[in-house]
């Protein structure tokens, strides 16, 4: 056995219940295990226990045994496990510790006392195995998240581990990079590397590891061959908010076969027709935002707008210079409209939002109503000591009377499921809760235009669908929304129009369904459709309306 958990129980300090409760799993040499479950299911804790992190670096009470090779991780901790296992974590930037890619790999070899003469070959082998051979000679500071994650994988492989431990390696990557890294991990895991992979974006791992373990509330729900487990528990995973492969999703929705089968095609068309889409009703019937009435002037009117950013061409503290990053954007957004902005990393999407929010300098015409911006990392926007104070900040600054502020804060706390956390420090919230908080803060003041940057980054499926619903509702309530996202399916659920950016210039702009169908433009802009969107675009004859199709699927899944 190369990785074993025996009656493993982990309890974090000040937590009422065990994060991992009497878990026993055995993984033979050469096998790969996929661990899935909703956030809070204990899947990351299982990995952290095998890596020797909990009970050592991170405080927790641990009982039972976690064996990796011959090393007991519970007793020996991270240092002992490091000799036999390689570890890859979520955050690409935090786990590259040195200035250069080669230095990063050499560091691992140095720690294992590999003779310097043997290092160049070992470095090359590790980088090649992680699909990062082309990155040798680069500085880590200039790499993208996906590239950094490959380097981290190479560093894990360089130590020639008996077991590879991977904790959501694709969670913080954009879909394209996630698919690439997922394919790499899938390949490694099915080619004889012993691996434990924790993932919530199971749809990105291709092929999937041979065995799957499903955790819920710290206990084992199922463990066995992946196809079997997904077939029996797919709907449960979906209900818990996990991302699953498209076929599992369809199966859970009640489809007769796989995507592309004629029967499934007909079923999908029929399903869409059967379930007429209805906008998600707000629980108390109250509007989410207090915006103006529909129609009238657009809430955003940008013509031939360019956005420039401050750059320091010669090092960190050299003289600042204004450089145009986004050029000649024409964008009008009316009340009730959601516009999606897409493009690869570095195409200027976020800068466009910063320009629209009045943060970066713009040229050309730019007229906006009252604007709120939600940035990609919620923690960067935090200002206050408690969640309630955080939501109250905007209305208070806007000069609203106290009782009105209180009313809005209470309503927002309920609408975004934060009422139990009102007195918590906003920094103590989970990633998903922080995202909801940042949306709550943005819409609690009166806004005409909501700008949102990557709102589903790192969220599970339930969180992403919820976000799409909120954005849709904000627009139904009369505001305009511009949302930057990598997630084409999210946009298909909520956007009316798409703007495609490439190298800072708009290359396509139009109705969502038309732009998504334009394969050439998407390819040129470096975007890839998901299986479902591919199927939809490739369908001959009249297609069902996309948003209705996805809405009907989601409804069918949750109805079962």
């Amino acid at each position: 056995m190369s990785a074993t958990a025996e009656r493993l129980t982990v309890t974090y300090p000040r937590a009422g219940v065990a994060a991992l409760d009497d878990v026993t799993v055995r993984l033979p040499d050469g096998d790969a295990l996929l661990v899935v479950g909703l956030s809070g299911s204990g899947k990351s804790t299982l990995l952290a226990a095998l890596a020797g992190i909990v009970g050592h670096t991170v405080d927790a009470e641990v009982s039972g045994r976690a064996l990796v090779g011959a090393v007991d991780a519970v007793a020996g901790g991270q240092r002992a496990v490091a000799a036999v296992a390689g570890l890859v974590l979520q955050d690409p930037a935090a786990q590259t510790c040195l200035d250069t890619v080669v230095g990063e790999i050499e560091h691992v070899l140095e720690n294992r006392a590999v003779p310097p003469a043997a290092m160049p070959a070992a470095v090359e082998a590790a980088l090649t195995a992680a699909g990062a051979g082309d990155l040798a000679g680069r500085a880590t500071g200039e790499l993208s998240g996906g590239q950094l994650q490959r380097v981290a994988l190479a560093a894990a492989l360089a130590g020639r581990p008996r077991v590879l431990l991977l904790d959501e390696p694709t969670a913080l990557l954009d879909p394209r990079a996630a698919r690439d890294v997922g394919a790499l991990v899938g390949r490694l895991a099915t080619q004889g590397t012993t691996a434990v992979v924790v993932e919530h974006r199971v749809d990105d791992l291709r092929p999937l590891p041979a065995r799957t373990l499903v955790l819920d509330g710290g206990r084992i729900v199922a463990c066995g061959p992946t196809a079997e487990v997904l077939a029996t528990h797919g709907h449960r995973l979906l209900a818990a908010g996990c991302w699953v492969p498209t076929d599992v999703l369809l199966d859970a929705a009640g489809a007769p076969g796989r995507l592309g089968d004629p029967g499934t095609d007909a079923w999908l068309v029929e399903l869409t027709a059967r379930r007429a889409p209805s906008p998600p009703p707000s629980p108390d019937g109250a509007a989410l935002v207090a915006a103006g009435p529909r129609g009238g002037d657009p809430v955003l009117d940008a013509r031939r707008m360019s956005v420039s950013r401050t750059r320091r061409p010669h090092g960190r503290w050299s003289r600042a210079r204004q450089v145009d990053v986004v050029h000649d954007v024409d964008l009008r957004v009316g009340r009730g409209e959601v516009v999606g902005v897409v493009g690869v990393n570095g195409c200027g999407k976020s800068t466009l939002l910063r320009g629209l929010a009045g943060l970066d300098r713009t040229r050309g015409t730019r007229r906006t109503g009252r604007t709120a911006l939600v940035v990609q990392h919620p923690e960067q926007q935090l200002l206050c000591r408690t969640v309630a104070a955080e939501i109250a900040y905007g209305p208070r600054r806007a000069g609203l009377p106290d009782d009105e502020v209180d009313r809005r804060v209470t309503a927002a706390l309920h609408r975004f499921g934060l009422h139990d956390l009102a007195d918590r420090s906003p920094y103590r919230l989970s990633g998903g809760q922080q995202r909801r908080l940042s949306l709550a803060c943005a819409v609690v003041t009166d806004v005409d235009l909501l700008l949102v940057d990557e709102p589903t980054f790192g969220l599970d499926r339930a969180g992403a669908l919820d976000t799409a619903g909120v954005l849709r509702q904000v627009s139904e309530d009369g505001a305009g929304v511009v949302v930057v996202s990598h997630d084409l399916e999210l946009l298909a659920r909520c956007a009316d129009r798409l703007l495609v950016l490439r190298d800072g210039r708009p290359v396509a702009h139009g109705r969502l369904e038309a732009v998504l169908g334009d394969t050439e433009t998407l390819d040129a802009a470096g975007l890839a459709r998901t299986d479902l969107l591919d199927w939809w675009c490739g369908r001959p004859g009249p297609r069902p309306p996309l948003r209705s199709l996805l809405g009907a699927l989601d409804a069918a899944v949750s109805a079962r």
Binding site: L89, C97, E110, A357, T368, R397
Partner: protein, 255 residues
């Protein structure tokens, strides 16, 4: 400059410490000129960089000069400016301290421009017995530092747009409260990252036994000779002052 960074740091530290108790004007001025020459010729510091650094230092030195000139009373009165008498003793000490500032600042510039932090840390581990954990912790922190300016800018603007009364295009707020919240958010992000980085470093086997070094920083006889030469020159300057009679120590301050 291929001078071993540990030896360089140690040598320059001693060379800087040597002026700590010097209060006459001649010695630090001579050392400042020597340091400037060394930076240009031996350190290959670009003249423009050095000039800009010296200009920044002049402001600092000017302040040191004026405060010492006006807050000291010793020797003949040379001039009377309003209520303040300028004395000969004060002038000497003020000049000495101003020149010392220029000397130390120049040495600092020499060090910053000619030292690669990564090489320094490797060398400190090799030659000064700094443990591998500490030197790699510092190198990892250095990577955090590279990201700090961008992170700072992102936090500042992300927080600024939370204000519904903010006008589009307005500069970022500079109130102590605004800056304080931004520093705090930066600190939280840094501490979070520190924990993840520590886990990553440990998972790569740092500190778990004997280790090798991929690129050793050489320590040659030449490094020691260079150190001896630098210290010899500094000692020579001090000795010259002693023999010539112009060197003075802290006794001059209370005379």
């Amino acid at each position: 400059m291929a001078w071993n960074p540990t030896v360089k740091l140690g040598t320059l530290l001693v060379a800087s410490g040597a002026v700590l108790l010097v209060t006459d004007p001649v010695t630090p001025v001579v050392l400042w000129l020597l340091a400037t020459g060394a930076a240009l010729l031996l350190g290959r510091v670009p003249a423009g960089t050095l000039l800009r650094a010296q200009l920044a230092l002049v402001a600092f030195a000017g302040s040191v000069f004026s405060s010492n000139l006006l807050l000291r009373h010793d020797g003949d009165v040379l001039a009377v400016v309003g209520p303040v008498e300028v004395t000969s003793g004060a002038l000497a000490v003020a000049t000495s301290f101003a020149a010392r500032t220029l000397y130390l600042g120049t040495v600092s510039v020499l060090l910053v421009v000619t030292t690669d932090p990564a090489r320094l840390m490797v060398s400190l581990h090799q030659h000064a017995r700094v443990p591998a954990t500490t030197s790699y912790a510092v190198l990892a922190a250095h990577r955090v530092l590279e990201l700090l300016p961008a992170e700072w800018e992102a936090i500042r603007s992300a927080q600024a747009v939370r204000d519904p009364r903010r006008a589009a295009g307005a500069p970022l707020p500079r109130s102590p409260r605004a800056l304080g919240t931004a520093v705090f958010a930066l600190l939280v992000a840094a501490v979070r990252r520190a924990e993840r980085t520590a886990i990553a470093l440990e998972s790569r086997g740092l500190g778990s036994g004997p280790r090798t070094t991929a690129h050793k920083v050489p320590l040659r006889a030449g490094d020691v000779v260079a150190a001896a030469a630098v210290l010899g020159v500094v000692a020579g300057v001090l000795l010259a002052g002693w023999w010539g009679g112009w060197l003075s120590g802290p006794a001059a301050l209370t005379a």
